[in-house]
């Protein structure tokens, strides 16, 4: 009895398992279809995610399982709607075989191509070895560069030859799909945008507030530019020299009235600001009887000494050349010339403004001193230049 009962029990057990498996395998497609039909994937996932079920398989795993099932279900639904995935045909089937059309002996080309590719690759390899050897033994730049050039260059040639001779020459012709989306697609995209736009844009007040907000964002960002630089005022308008300042040489010694012979020049700076960009001044001496300075400047050249800003008024280079026979200062950048006898007025080249002149006088101890600042701010022109 007990034995029979036991057998019966095991049959029942087996039957139950079978039934369970059957039911599950039947339930799956049903669930699939149901889920597929009323697509609520987000709701499903959310429900699982929300419910904390302590002591069971972790939520993440459950979520993953359900998501996989869902993806599968969605795919199946897709298939139901669109039919089973068709075998895709290759777009390449219709490509023209140019080799065949031109009657190329492909076998011969491939044979030669292989040899060539091997040749170029071997050369590249040799170049690479030579480069590594030179590099690790600290070789010079010429060999390094040329060997690296051989390496990459031959490698490149090998690939081009490979592509030319070992790959069949084909030509594909495909229709160009129109760039514009079909009108309904465009309409629906535009419609969705407009709907959303109307959802957010309710009140004029909000509109103006957001415009103001965007403006404020721009204002804040643009304001940061202010941190990047100081006001141009002080440095652009400075005339550099002050009344009574001594003229100093490079080495920091003051210039005396016997420093130069007529026809020679030197670079001088205001006492206390040696070697700065805008302060550089060219001091030169000419024979006084040649001078044709304007009447107002007649006393500015004691003993034929003249001082001009050395920064070109055209583009700011150093006016570094002086031709003593023609009494011209010349800028080496754009070849503007300035006649020192008439107050460094431009006489040729693209400069439009004279080099600012520095009034000079000799003090009773024989030092040359500035009788004031430059006649104009030195350097290239700018809006608002006096």
């Amino acid at each position: 009895m007990s034995e029979e009962g036991g057998q019966k029990g095991s049959w029942l057990w087996a039957g139950g398992v079978l039934a369970w498996k059957l039911a599950r395998s039947l339930a799956r497609p049903v669930a699939r279809v149901l889920m597929g039909r009323r697509i609520q994937p987000i709701g499903e996932i959310k429900r699982v995610g929300e419910a904390a079920r302590p002591g069971r398989v972790s939520d993440a795993v459950m979520l993953g399982l359900e998501a996989t099932a869902l993806t599968q279900a969605l795919r199946d639904t897709f298939e139901e709607i669109h039919g089973p995935e068709a075998e895709e045909t290759s777009e390449r089937e219709n490509d023209r075989n140019l080799d065949a059309e031109r009657g190329v002996n492909v076998e011969k080309r491939e044979k030669w191509g292989t040899a060539l590719v091997v040749f170029w690759l071997a050369l590249a390899f040799a170049g690479g070895i030579a480069f590594l050897f030179t590099y690790w033994t600290g070789g010079n730049n010429l060999i390094l560069g040329s060997m690296l050039g051989v390496f990459f260059g031959c490698f490149g040639i090998a690939l081009v030859v490979w592509s030319h001779s070992l790959v069949p020459h084909t030509e594909a012709t495909e229709p160009r799909a129109p760039l514009a989306a079909p009108t309904p697609k465009f309409q629906s995209a535009m419609g969705d945008f407009t709907r959303g736009y109307h959802q957010i844009q309710r009140r004029n007040l909000l509109k103006w507030a957001s415009v103001a907000g965007a403006g404020m964002v721009a204002a804040v960002f643009i304001s940061f530019l202010r941190s990047m630089g100081r006001s141009p005022e002080a440095s652009l308008y400075t005339r550099v020299w002050k009344q009574g300042q001594r003229l100093m040489k490079f080495d920091g010694t003051p210039v005396t009235v016997d420093a130069l012979q007529p026809g020679s020049t030197m670079i001088v700076f205001p006492e206390g600001s040696e070697d700065t960009e805008t302060a550089q001044t060219v001091l030169l001496r000419v024979r006084p009887e040649l001078l044709r300075l304007p009447a107002s400047r007649s006393t500015w050249a004691p003993g034929g000494y003249l001082a001009y800003s050395r920064v070109c008024t055209h583009a700011g280079c150093s006016v570094g050349m002086y031709e003593r026979t023609s009494h011209l200062l010349m800028c080496p950048c754009h070849q503007s010339t300035f006649d020192v006898l008439i107050g460094a007025q431009p006489t040729g080249g693209p400069a439009a403004r004279a080099l600012p002149q520095l009034p000079l006088y000799a003090d009773d101890r024989g030092f040359l001193r500035a009788g004031g600042g430059f006649t104009e701010p030195p350097g290239p022109g700018f809006w608002g230049m006096p």
């Binding site: 592509s163 630089g229 693209p350």
Partner: protein, 444 residues
């Protein structure tokens, strides 16, 4: 292995359709379509070699005294930036090679962009639907020019110092905003200590980032719109003819990249470029005679030399002489170039969409205009080196400059007329041949 990796990626990213489309993407085969590729690969090489240089370059204007392995400059005062360049060039293994490759790559980058854009212009590839990419491409060109200038200006050598001072004068010359803009962007008068760190930030971060982003946009647009085709049998506005991306185009393109890399490496090793140690460190009172900018800015230099010294006073305000040749002239050129596709549309009233290129002789006006502008720029390039020309010959700068001023007007007009005539003749001949072919009895 490949299959299982591909499967693994596809089950996670669904990449198969995308990859398939990419592998089958059709690119027309023509040598002139490589020019953009050369520019692209130069950019890649610029980024890679630039990364190497950035490990050693010190973007600081602080004054130091040099005691390195280059003895001629021992004990000389210089900026820390210049010192780091000397160390890079003389002490870092392959440092000089990388620096020269970087500079050569920059020159080739810009040259490739210019020639690429010329190809676009002369074949009218800028027409609808490609106007957007024309505008993107113009911006790429301007960014490349700016970054070239920033790059060679941050070396702290005497030549770059001259270039910076001229750049400063140009920026300063802008009406109304010039002074403030100059002081905000450069931090003061040149050479302010702030200039080199700023150039550094722009050169290695801001501009390359913009270039990278715009390059991606440029390529994405080309991908979406497909390349243009030259006219020929079997070509039509509604089809694309060419080779598949995989494998022939891929192999060829990688080969081109490596070949370019090889050429640049050889140039970097064998042909000296920008030898900063010969120029010496920047020093405010020294200047190099015969100083030239890099070639891609030479035309502005030429315009600056030819433009007469004219000051324009507006009331108590001044528009300096450099504004006209160095801001207004290039500015107008740039604006016209940006607007060219739209201007052509407005003038010809042709609003059609084109995927087949125009042969230059088909539309003589466009070709003649392009040639005239190019001849003008090349002339200005020579005018920008007139002092060197005078040194090499025995003429006078004044006479040469006068000649260049005359040629500036004569040459573009002459070139324009000649090219127009040639195109017109070619077009007529083409039309006759076409007519003959149509009229001739067809073989059966």
């Amino acid at each position: 292995m490949i299959r299982s990796t591909a499967r693994g990626l596809d089950t996670r990213l669904r990449i198969a359709p995308v990859v398939r489309e990419a592998l089958n993407h059709v690119f027309p085969d023509h040598w002139s379509f490589m020019l953009g590729e050369i520019a692209l690969y130069s950019f890649v090489i610029l980024v890679a070699s630039g990364l190497f240089l950035a490990m050693f370059y010190n973007g600081s204007a602080a004054q130091v005294v040099y005691h390195g392995s280059y003895h001629p400059l021992d004990g000389v005062k210089m900026s820390a930036a210049y010192q780091s360049l000397l160390n890079l060039s003389f002490d870092v293994p392959a440092g000089l090679l990388m620096r020269q490759m970087h500079h050569w790559a920059a020159d080739i980058f810009i040259a490739a962009i210019v020639v690429h854009q010329a190809r676009i212009f002369f074949t009218a590839a800028y027409r609808r639907p490609r106007e957007i990419n024309w505008v993107v491409g113009m911006t790429l060109l301007l960014l490349a020019l700016a970054n070239g200038y920033f790059g060679y200006s941050m070396c702290g050598d005497l030549l770059s110092g001259a270039g910076l001072r001229i750049g400063y004068a140009i920026l300063l010359s802008l009406p109304v905003i010039g002074p403030w803009m100059t002081f905000i962007f450069l931090g003061g008068t040149v050479p302010a200590d702030t200039v080199i760190p700023r150039l550094y930030a722009w050169h290695i971060f801001l501009v390359p980032m913009l270039l990278g982003v715009l390059l991606v946009v440029h390529l994405a647009i080309i991908w979406r719109q497909y390349h243009t085709n030259f006219p020929g049998p079997g070509r039509s506005q509604t089809s694309i003819v060419g080779a598949r991306l995989w494998p022939s185009y891929t192999l060829k393109s990688i080969g081109l990249f490596l070949l370019l890399l090889g050429i640049l490496a050889a140039l970097g090793g064998l042909v000296q470029i920008d030898p900063v140690w010969i120029y010496g460190p920047y020093d405010p009172v020294s200047i190099i005679p015969g100083a030239q900018p890099d070639w891609y800015l030479g035309w502005i230099e030429g315009a600056m030399r030819l433009f007469p010294g004219v000051n324009l006073h507006l009331g108590s305000y001044l528009i300096p002489e450099v504004f006209f040749p160095a801001v207004l002239f290039p500015g107008l050129l740039i604006v016209v170039l940006y607007l060219y596709p739209f201007l052509e549309k407005a003038f010809t009233r042709d609003h059609g969409s084109y995927n087949v290129l125009r042969i230059p002789s088909q539309y003589p006006f466009n070709t003649a205009l392009g040639c005239a502008v190019f001849s003008c720029l090349i002339l200005l390039e020579f005018a920008g080196a007139d002092d060197v020309l005078v040194m090499a010959s025995s003429g006078s700068v004044v006479a040469l400059r006068l000649l260049f001023r005359v040629l500036f007007f004569v040459v573009p007009i002459a070139v324009g007329v000649v090219v127009y005539t040639l195109c017109w003749l070619a077009r007529r001949k083409h039309a006759e041949a076409h007519l003959l072919a149509e009229g001739a009895p067809q073989p059966r």
